[in-house]
């Protein structure tokens, strides 16, 4: 995936390649994805890339199970528990209840979850302050727009996505009070056709930048932007979760609001391998922790003075001078 060749993601090719001297040799790490699977070009993929990195670095054995539906979460987690995996990851907001249940039933096993909070003595929860990163995306958009019309395309109208929207709007408002943000929720994370038409509608209405937080639905936003580019009309997309310019190219990607799921996974897993697993802890990764933020590649398309502004706002948020709204 990700346009890059050789992403070795054949399920659990095993840690056989690891040399014997590595620290994670006898350490097994499982990961349960939601329906998207490890190639969703989104957080599941990011998390899996993190684990592959761990495998490479430490020689630990990593494996994932893809869920075919909500009902699969629990048995999939249990599969790892029953196979005595040392750490099992639940990836995504939706896994919250499943992780909670299985953790309670298996107090001796260790779990970690991304994007949701599970209060249990054997679970470490990692969440992200998406609103903080989105605020910076808003700053970029507010300062870059020429039409003073900006769009936001969301997936489902749910709390996580609301955080994106709230932060983004606040960021735009902070630097460009005249800019109007058009909000469109498509009602789906897996419908590029809806994303595409939503984008077309917003661009037609005069917007020149759209920020999407809509998973695969957002692919449609990129496709629409590319379409317009081919027809000679320059418009921008702000990507989400990963540096989407790598996937969709610099000519339409202004910047991306990155969630460093991979980094979080690596950090927590490394801790666990080192015996320093912070069970019961809830970690929120914001700008301060570099859990969210804009990628290096932003400099290609975002003007230097805008980037400077971004840095200013980032500092203020990190220092706590600005409190970014999350709904």
């Amino acid at each position: 995936g990700c346009g890059s060749k050789g992403t070795d993601s054949k399920p659990a090719a095993g840690g056989a390649a690891a040399t014997s001297s590595k620290k994670g040799e006898k350490f097994n790490i499982g990961m349960v994805t939601d329906i998207g699977g490890v190639n969703d070009k989104s957080f599941n993929q990011s998390a899996w890339e993190g684990l592959k990195q761990i495998e490479k670095d430490t020689g630990a054995k990593v494996k994932y199970l893809q869920s075919k539906g909500d009902a699969d979460f629990v048995p999939n987690l249990n599969q790892f528990v029953k196979d005595n995996y040392n750490l099992t990851w639940g990836i995504g907001f939706l896994m919250g209840d499943a992780v909670k249940t299985v953790a309670a039933q298996n107090p001796k096993s260790q779990f970690a979850i991304i994007d949701n909070v599970v209060e249990a003595p054997n679970v470490e929860s990692v969440t992200f302050a998406e609103h903080e990163g989105s605020y910076l995306a808003g700053v970029v958009a507010g300062l870059t727009t020429k039409t003073n019309k900006i769009g936001f395309v969301g997936g489902l109208d749910i709390p996580v996505i609301k955080r994106f929207e709230a932060g983004f709007k606040a960021g735009v408002a902070a630097v460009n009070p005249n800019a109007k943000v058009t909000i469109n929720y498509t009602g789906a994370f897996d419908k590029p056709d809806l994303g595409k038409v939503a984008a077309a509608t917003i661009y037609n209405d005069g917007a020149d930048i759209i920020f999407h937080a809509a998973g695969a639905t957002g692919n449609g936003v990129f496709n629409e932007a590319k379409d317009r580019l081919k027809a000679g009309k320059k418009v921008w997309v702000i990507g989400v979760d990963k540096d989407q310019s790598l996937e969709f190219g610099d000519d339409v990607t202004l910047t991306s609001m990155m969630k460093r799921v991979d980094q979080a996974v690596i950090r927590v897993t490394n801790d666990a391998i080192d015996g320093k697993f912070q069970a019961g802890k809830i970690v929120t990764l914001g700008l301060k922790e570099d859990g969210v933020g804009l990628p290096e590649t932003s400099s290609k398309n975002v003007a230097p003075d805008v980037l400077k502004k971004v840095q200013e706002y980032k500092d203020k948020i990190v220092k706590g001078e600005i409190k970014v709204p999350d709904k």
């Binding site: 995936g1 346009g3 050789g6 992403t7 070795d8 993601s9 054949k10 399920p11 998207g36 699977g37 490890v38 190639n39 969703d40 070009k41 109208d157 058009t182 909000i183 469109n184 929720y185 009602g187 897996d190 419908k191 590029p192 056709d193 809806l194 595409k196 038409v197 939503a198 077309a200 509608t201 917003i202 037609n204 209405d205 695969a216 692919n219 449609g220 496709n223 590319k226 379409d227 081919k230 027809a231 996937e247 969709f248």
Partner: protein
């Protein structure tokens, strides 16, 4: 907001949504007019979407950028046709229940294509993102006419192709010997047989044409919307096309109207979000809009659709 322009865009968006439905529902007509129920349209679309992604990607790699999406369409037609042979064999040769056989198509397509994607793309759940996809073609001069230009003359090549195929299908079904025979086989196979027409052959052809056209429908989505193929590239469009075929009374022009209606109601829900009053309407109700509209229109519409009389009945010359 410039009203004319907005209306033009609304029509334009409608056509974007309608195109895949037109192809697929036209395919459904060929199959069902020959007497073979085809609820496998969804699966046939999946197979087409898959083949288009793979072939276009391959062509792209081979450096055939301009030709790539066209090759994708061709591959989708071929693959869709091959896939539909399963349906034809089961329901024509082996006289299986046609609904069951259609369900089989849906299952096999869903499983097989993803499995192949994983094999072809190194375990990945989707194909590579395609660069060489279709983009909208502006027809010179015509596209600058106010309203009409925006509405009709800035569209994907596939949209034009779909509209042409509506006319072609009409001609084939109602003007040519082939069409007469195909329809006779769907209405009264034993009558056709006593006139020396080979019922099975025509049913095979009907089903295969549905495979080719549904394949085109699926390819349209890959090549104009998603730019890749994954497990949710086709999620329900085949069933909507089935609905469009019934709503359109198994007639190409009716199907065109029905597909445009479904496209319009999808497009509307996006346009509504541009207006401020929509903020007071819960989003979920906007999402429901297309489907509620459909039911209301159908419930208000007069006249029942009459399917081909022998639809769903395997032809058994020995049966009385």
């Amino acid at each position: 907001m410039d009203f004319l322009r907005v209306m033009g865009e609304l029509v334009n968006t409608t056509l974007v949504f309608s195109t895949a439905l037109i192809f697929t529902a036209l395919g459904g007509i060929y199959s069902e007019r020959s007497g073979v129920v085809n609820i496998g349209l969804e699966g046939l679309m999946v197979s087409g979407a898959f083949a288009a992604a793979v072939a276009t990607h391959g062509a792209e790699q081979a450096g055939l950028t301009g030709l790539a999406p066209w090759l994708g369409l061709l591959a989708a037609m071929i693959f869709g046709t091959l896939f539909s042979l399963i349906h034809a064999a089961a329901s024509v040769t082996f006289k299986a229940d046609q609904v069951v056989s259609g369900v089989v198509i849906n299952f096999l397509a869903a499983g097989m294509t993803l499995y192949l994607v994983k094999l072809l793309y190194d375990g990945s759940g989707q194909t590579e993102t395609l660069g060489a996809v279709f983009s909208k073609v502006e027809i010179p001069v015509l596209s600058s006419i106010p309203f009409l230009g925006e509405a009709l003359f800035k569209a994907y090549p596939t949209t034009y192709l779909a509209l042409i195929l509506v006319a072609v299908t009409y001609y084939v079904l109602f003007k040519t010997p082939f069409g007469l025979r195909l329809r006779s086989v769907g209405e009264h196979p034993s009558a056709a047989a006593t006139m020396g027409i080979r019922v099975s052959r025509y049913r095979y052809i009907g089903v295969m044409l549905s495979g080719a056209l549904a394949g085109l429908g699926g390819a349209t989505i890959t090549l104009t919307t998603t730019s890749n193929f994954s497990h949710n590239t086709i999620s329900g469009q085949g069933f909507i096309a089935l609905a469009a075929m019934i709503f359109g009374k198994w007639h190409p022009v009716g199907v065109l109207g029905a597909a445009i209606f479904f496209g319009l109601s999808q497009a509307l829900r996006n346009f509504v979000q541009l207006f401020d009053f929509s903020k007071n309407v819960p989003a979920e109700f906007l999402y429901m809009l297309p489907y509620i509209l459909t039911i209301l229109v159908l419930a208000g519409a007069v006249g029942r659709a009459v399917p081909p009389s022998s639809l769903g009945e395997p032809y058994d010359p020995g049966k009385r």
